[in-house]
Symmetry: C2
Subunit: 98 residues, 2 copies
């Protein structure tokens, strides 16, 4: 996953709203629809983008599909951003200083 895919996936209000809901818990699509107030197709569309970016995990349970946020991916991507754009602030911390 590259830093642009990540940034694009994060770059929408509705998507961040969904991500906040999915943080630390599994929720099914219809619940997301209820809690966000946007239409079911729109929610599915956003979930597709998050899935594509591997920012969410999925589990089917009968007729329902549950989603949760992939927190590890968030940390990794933020790390990549910081390495790329703030190396001076983050590079070392443990410098082996030969």
């Amino acid at each position: 996953m590259d830093s642009i895919t990540f940034a694009k996936a994060m770059a929408d209000d509705t998507r961040q709203q969904i991500m906040r809901l999915l943080c630390c818990q599994w929720i099914c699509v219809s619940n997301i629809v209820d809690q966000t107030g946007v239409s079911q197709p729109t929610v599915s569309h956003h979930l597709g983008i998050l899935r594509e970016a591997e920012l969410v995990n999925t589990r089917r349970e009968g007729k329902q599909v549950f989603y949760t946020l992939n927190q590890d991916a968030i940390v990794v991507c933020c790390g990549i951003l910081m390495q790329a754009f703030a190396p001076e602030k983050v590079t070392s911390e443990e410098q082996t200083a030969t």
Copy 2:
């Protein structure tokens, strides 16, 4: 600065290209134009977005305007993202564990 402004500012290829150039050094606009191969108005447009998001610092020197990346802002914004979307992975590190 909110996490959406940040993500939107990062969510473009040309803009990340410019940000990489501005990382750890001051460059003037015409140099950015030369090194990116996009037109001067386009570069100015992207710099405007980065300025708006406070991701760059600016300094005028005669007729030229120099830009550099605001690395501290990057770190802060990534921190906000991680706090919001990966709290379990980042909250503690030093848990006072009563």
